[in-house]
Symmetry: C2
Subunit: 156 residues, 2 copies
DNA sequence: GGCTTGCCTAGAGTGCGCTCAAGGTATTTA
DNA sequence: TAAATACCTTGAGCGCACTCTAGGCAAGCC
């Protein structure tokens, strides 16, 4: 994943995020810098619908097109999708990612704001990790109880 | 929080959970075992709408009523709400919590299934924690980059 | 030429987890 | 007695993040 991002709407919400696909994973065909949407689907695990939607809402930078209008994703685009996947995984709202993408498109003078956004998000993630670890304790306790107090493990 | 739960419907989904309220917190008025809905709102931070909705979908056990039909929550009910809050915090889908509540209502012979449900959820949470920690690395990396490569921290 | 495949667009629909609206009753307070 | 307050119910609505539908074009293959 490069550090120099590539992308391009905004908003905000609040509830617990549901688990998203584990992560990217599949190997990149081999840097041809010209991937069709279905190759990107295979690589990212996202649906073509979702990829087009990401573009519509401004979460992606401009994507190249063939003369007949088909999308051709570049390696940089895949890098960006990798990063987006990470952010999603940590439960960042799509609107925030879009905001970040906008900042990237706006250029160098937005470094500070991007930094702030990432730092705030990192805090968020850290808090979340702490909460989860905390709750794991409660789960352990309950589980121990059930494992012990059970009418006898094999009793039906 | 007691270990002997109290609650009761069912379903399933899959995406990343959004952050939910930090946690219960506010002190329990003092065990009167007869709390009005607005007291429970103050205690849990949930809205009255949500509390009634939880009941409708079978996430709560039977809640006592006054002769005029107003709800009166017991300490046990609050304990259950504490536990539910924990589960929500860890992103357990409402449908799963409802399933768990059903099992509790069904009685002792469901211990095994409850145990399995909790164990599976714990695995889920552990996986999620691992993913988050992982992604924190990526965030740290990006943040270090921005903090360093910035056109100079005070440059505008 | 006809069929298949892979892609395109605009816009509607879905599932989850609430949240709100409308209309009503009982108790307390002025 | 009138008004305010706190609660009730049923059912519709909302925001988010997708996901699907319908209709269409272009290139490849027999």
């Amino acid at each position: 994943m490069t550090v120099t991002d590539t992308p391009g709407a905004t908003g905000r919400a609040r509830t617990v995020p549901k688990p998203v696909r584990a992560t990217i994973g599949r190997p990149r065909p081999q840097a041809r810098d010209q991937y069709t949407i279905s190759e990107v689907v295979a690589y990212t695990g996202l649906s073509a619908h979702t990829l087009r939607w990401y573009e519509r809402i401004g979460l992606m930078p401009h994507i190249d097109r063939t003369h007949t209008g088909q999308r051709r994703y570049s390696d940089q685009d895949l890098d960006w999708l990798d990063f987006v996947a990470k952010l999603r995984l940590t439960g960042m709202p799509v609107a925030d990612m879009v905001r970040y993408a906008e900042l990237v498109r706006e250029g160098g003078h937005t470094y500070r704001e991007r930094l702030e956004l990432l730092v705030a998000h990192r805090e968020d993630v850290r808090r979340r990790v702490a909460e989860l670890r905390d709750t794991l304790g409660v789960l352990d306790f309950k589980i121990d109880f059930y494992a012990g107090a059970e009418p006898a493990p094999e009793r039906h």
